[in-house]
């Protein structure tokens, strides 16, 4: 996990870096096969939410698990590997925004998992500053 050193200067720079640099891999515990991280994904987003397409050929759709916890999306399951052994995989994505845990749609077709997750609506809170 990368640590960002917030030295002097613009304190918000840390957040800019997180946003621009490709924040989706900050937390990643994955089953490492020779092919690298599994499953491979394409990730799209807009202001309403996230769309993820993952390659899951050979994975039993009943054992495929998609979970959302605050801003972390986790895909896990079991796959029979090329050498016949059964492997468990898990891949997590740490996102720069929070996700809804309701209204998630997920479907598998032709070995491709498509997940749509709406963003949590931004809560606007007024912060009161106590007088000293």
């Amino acid at each position: 996990m990368k640590a960002y050193l917030n030295t002097m200067g613009n304190p918000w720079r840390v957040f800019d870096e997180l946003m621009n640099e490709f924040p989706y891999e900050l937390l990643n515990r994955a089953w490492r096969s020779r092919a690298g991280l599994y499953p491979r994904v394409n990730v799209w987003e807009n202001e309403k939410g996230l769309a993820v397409e993952a390659e899951v050929a050979g994975v039993d759709p009943d054992k495929l698990d998609v979970a959302v916890d605050a801003n972390v999306l986790t895909i896990k399951g079991e796959k029979e590997q090329a050498d016949g052994t059964r492997g468990e995989f898990q891949r997590s994505f740490n996102l720069p925004f929070e996700l809804e845990s309701e209204n998630i749609t997920a479907a598998v077709k032709n070995g491709m998992l498509t997940v749509s997750i709406p963003r949590k609506a931004a809560e606007k809170r007024k912060i009161t500053i106590a007088k000293q």
Binding site: V43, E45, E55, G58, V59, N110
Partner: protein
């Protein structure tokens, strides 16, 4: 070097990268089972041909385009899967069966009768 001049206004489509799909073969007494991973490929998009004893598989995957969204991470490219297998003599090529399920192409390659394991009866004597 091509002598054909491409008109400038013609958009050239980038041709797909050809990749060899992951595959494995399992053997039983009756047949070989060949499993080829073709994620993003539907049954109708698989080109499966047999020429003499060479089995060829070609397929192009479909990668989704989410309208109104920005692409932020791309690990799955559009590819052309291509592979070929020279089937051994033990395979009865006339009995090959193919099925597609959830991105997997499963081929059953039956063995010729004479190579299937047989029990040999031992006469009492």
């Amino acid at each position: 070097m091509s002598l054909i001049k491409t008109p400038e206004h013609e958009v050239q489509k980038v041709s797909r990268l050809e990749v060899t799909p992951a595959s494995r073969v399992e053997e039983s007494g009756e047949a070989f089972t060949l499993t080829v991973e073709l994620p993003g490929v539907g049954e109708k998009d698989i080109e499966l041909t047999l020429e003499n004893r060479t089995l060829s598989i070609t397929a192009e995957n479909t990668v989704q385009n989410f309208n109104g969204h920005t692409l932020v991470l791309t690990e799955i490219p559009e590819v052309r899967y291509r592979t070929a297998f020279d089937l051994p003599e033990r395979v009865d090529t006339t009995g090959i069966q193919a099925a597609s399920r959830n991105g997997l192409l499963i081929l059953t390659l039956p063995k010729r009768e004479e190579v299937k394991p047989r029990r040999i009866a031992i006469a009492a004597g």
